[in-house]
């Protein structure tokens, strides 16, 4: 449907796009992702004929965009801009009806077909109930749906959306993208620039990753959102996990941090340990973790952050070998974080050279008989685990007796 062939665009000396090749087929919602200034809007602007390619071409349904009149192109391609500047007291209904502009000659009156298209577009986008309100009296999310309605009213074969969700609440974002999905389900095509990578992965059939005017990767979200791609494109550290609800790639971009030379071991599993592992790893500590049974969410987090882990089979008792392995890791670590309350982890914590106990854990184990060491340890809220570790690292390590194998 949309074919971008060897497209390059330069503004003066600035190369905005170079050699971009991209196809959007009918029935497909393709997400355009990449950092700000990567060339996403430039690409969309070329497809809707606003910008002229320096080299290469864009065709829509076989027709070169550069050869089409604005009117002919507007019947094929509709655009939903990031924000619309219309702040005049036009009724919503009239704004939607402006979508029929490319179908009407200058002297033609509004035809029943035009009205039908406008009504249907308003039904689908759920703006019909405020059709008589003035456009400057509706909320940002409603207004964006009005613009989508206008684009649908244009009855195009292809829909371009330029970060239509950028300024919206999450429920409005999901609504706009669901509308785009419905649109392509009718055998039409849509290309949507979108800055939220996880949202893009969730709604789009394919993604195209653009950075510095070049297409870095295109294809299924799982392959495009590989960590190395994202890190290259955005110049930061990124962690890609599987979203627990949708199963689609979930990207967390973190500020890249200088490596720290301290080694921290995290004891425990579940949510608390998962969070401790993630924050410590992204802060730049060298982290190890365990014992973690297969299936534990902390294990997923650990793997996503390339953390060394000691794993065990789920629901199986921890055998001696595994125990020794973890014990060695704890003894080697400059600091150990206790994030689990079970017996095994508490026992292992006694081998730590420096210990930080997560507050929730401390509250639970403080009266226990095993608490001699724990009481002398530093207690930190899970949100401040990094500060806790740093403070503890400033202190002297505990002198360790070599623990006997039990």
């Amino acid at each position: 449907m949309i074919d971008v062939e060897d497209l390059s665009i330069a503004f003066g000396d600035v190369q905005a796009l170079s050699d971009v090749n991209l196809t959007v087929d009918r029935g497909e919602l393709v997400g355009l992702v990449g950092p700000n200034g990567a060339g996403k809007s430039t690409l969309l602007g070329t497809i809707n004929g606003l910008l002229e390619p320096t080299a290469g071409r864009v065709t829509v349904d076989g027709d070169d965009v550069a050869d089409l009149s604005a009117r002919a192109l507007a019947r094929q391609v509709a655009t939903v801009p990031q924000e619309t500047s219309l702040s005049f007291a036009f009724p919503v209904r009239d704004v939607v009806a402006m979508g029929r502009t490319p179908y009407r000659s200058r002297f033609e009156r509004v035809s029943p077909t035009d009205r039908e298209h406008a009504e249907r577009a308003m039904e689908r986008t759920d703006v019909a109930r405020f059709a008589d309100r003035s456009i400057d009296a509706v909320s940002g999310g409603e207004r964006q749906r009005v613009v989508v309605a206008r684009a649908l009213c244009q009855d195009p074969d292809a829909l371009l959306l330029d970060e239509p969700t950028a300024s919206l609440d999450i429920d409005h974002q999901v609504r706009i993208l669901s509308l785009a999905r419905e649109f392509v389900a009718e055998g039409r095509a849509a290309l949507c620039a979108i800055h939220d990578l996880s949202l893009a992965a969730r709604f789009c059939d394919r993604l195209a990753l653009v950075a510095d005017g070049e297409l870095l990767a295109a294809g299924r979200p799982e392959s495009v959102l590989a960590e190395e791609h994202v890190e290259h494109a955005f110049g930061t550290e990124a962690t890609v996990t599987s979203h627990p609800v949708t199963g689609t790639p979930d990207v967390t971009v973190t500020e890249s941090q200088p490596d720290r030379d301290a080694h921290v071991h995290v004891l425990g599993g579940g949510h608390t340990a998962s969070r401790a592992i993630a924050t410590l790893a992204t802060t730049g500590f060298s982290v190890s973790a365990g014992v973690l049974p297969e299936g534990d969410r902390a294990l997923d987090t650990a793997r996503a952050h390339d953390v060394t882990t000691v794993t065990a089979a789920p629901f199986a008792p921890v055998d001696r070998n595994i125990r020794r392995e973890v014990s060695q890791s704890v003894q080697a670590a400059d600091c150990t974080v206790l994030a689990g309350t079970d017996e095994t982890n508490r026992a292992l914590a006694e081998h730590a050279r420096r210990l930080v106990v997560v507050r929730e854990v401390a509250n639970e184990v403080i009266d226990d008989e095993h608490t001699t060491d724990i009481e002398t340890a530093r207690v930190a809220d899970i949100g401040e685990v990094v500060a806790g570790v740093e403070a503890r690292l400033d202190g002297e390590p505990r002198r360790l007796e070599t623990p006997a194998d039990d």
Partner: protein
């Protein structure tokens, strides 16, 4: 426009199609215009009754004949009506082109002379009066003003255009710069005006006192033809309010539409200014007031602003000529228009397009 006005306009849209609303408002304003013309024709140093005015006008139609006093006929047909009709045409032209310019520039400050049309006309007229040179093609004062207006507007357009594109902001700035420059030229000419200074000043202030039927005959066809073409472009104007990129993606050939709108509006303004001099504020205030009343849709805003401009200028000119000493009508429009506009501004009725 905001709050109640906006929702009221929107609500009434639901019941009325835009076409029937435009028709209803236009019919009402046309009636008001006829009333204003008749009333204006009765007023003056010699009072003439409505009945007599009506009979004089009807008698002018070839198939009708009424017995009317000859003096009344002379006063109404030769003195008052040409002037009143011309006021109506000039007001119509200024109201229409002011609306187009405000929509085109998406700027509430825009008025018909924003790209230098009026200053160009003034330069042409002042040069014609002051300079002892024969104008080419035997142009009269009005011809010189008309030519000056179009040359200035076209010059501004050329300066602001690069590579087939005319950015609106550049156009606006080029207009301001050219107006300033031409202002300097006018001032220089005024220094050397000598005995013709009074005539020049009078022209610059805007006046209709010498109007004759020949002025009506030259301006009316221009105003009507241009207006009809502008009406065909009202939908483009609406879509252009969305911004040029959005207008393009809705199938408007943006640069072509802009050229057409600019050219038409300049011709309309030039035609008005050439016969009447620089009459300020009509093209600025009238579209704002009408936007408050009928909403921002140009399909209704353009015809109503044009007609309201007519009514306003007929009334203002009547006021200008009914005082003890006749005033240039430009003084009256500014003196009445500016305070009214400030009142609207303070009430926050006018804050944007």
């Amino acid at each position: 426009m905001d709050g109640e006005g906006a929702t009221a306009a929107a609500r009434s849209d639901a019941r009325w199609t835009i076409g029937s609303r435009a028709l209803a408002w236009s019919a009402g304003l046309a009636l008001a215009l006829v009333g204003a013309i008749l009333a204006s024709a009765t007023l003056g140093p010699v009072g003439i009754e409505y009945g007599v005015v009506a009979r004089v006008i009807l008698d002018a139609f070839p198939s009708l004949s009424f017995a009317v006093p000859e003096t009344a006929r002379t006063i109404v047909m030769d003195l008052r009506l040409p002037r009143i009709t011309l006021a109506a045409i000039v007001g119509f032209a200024l109201g229409a082109s002011g609306t187009v310019m405000q929509g085109f520039f998406r700027n509430p400050m825009a008025d018909p002379s924003i790209i230098g049309v009026s200053t160009g006309a003034a330069t042409g007229a002042v040069a014609w009066i002051v300079l002892p040179i024969a104008t080419p093609f035997a142009l009269g004062l009005q011809g010189a003003a008309f030519a000056g207006a179009l040359i200035a507007a076209f010059g501004v357009y050329l300066i602001a255009t690069e590579g087939g594109r005319t950015p609106v902001a550049t156009l606006l700035l080029a207009g301001v710069a050219v107006q300033t420059f031409l202002g300097a030229v006018i001032s220089y000419l005024l220094i050397n005006a000598g005995e013709s200074l009074e005539r020049v000043t009078y022209w610059l202030m805007g006046h209709l006192h010498n109007a004759g039927w020949d002025d009506v005959v030259t301006t009316l066809p221009v105003a009507l033809v241009v207006f009809v073409v502008l009406v065909a472009y009202t939908r483009d104007l609406n879509v252009l309010l969305l911004g040029e990129n959005e207008a393009h993606s809705l199938g408007i050939e943006v640069e072509r539409s802009k050229r057409v709108l600019l050219a038409l509006s300049s011709v309309l303004t030039a035609g008005a200014v050439a016969v009447s001099g620089v009459i300020g504020f009509v093209g600025l205030v009238v579209p704002h007031v009408m936007r408050l009343l009928v909403g921002p849709d140009h399909r209704i805003l353009l015809p109503t602003s044009a007609l309201a401009g007519s009514v306003f200028l007929v009334a203002a000119d009547t006021l200008a000529r009914s005082g003890p000493a006749e005033l240039p009508v430009g003084i009256v429009t500014a003196a009445v228009g500016a305070p009214f506009f400030l009142y609207l501004l303070r009430r926050r009725e006018v804050h944007a397009l």
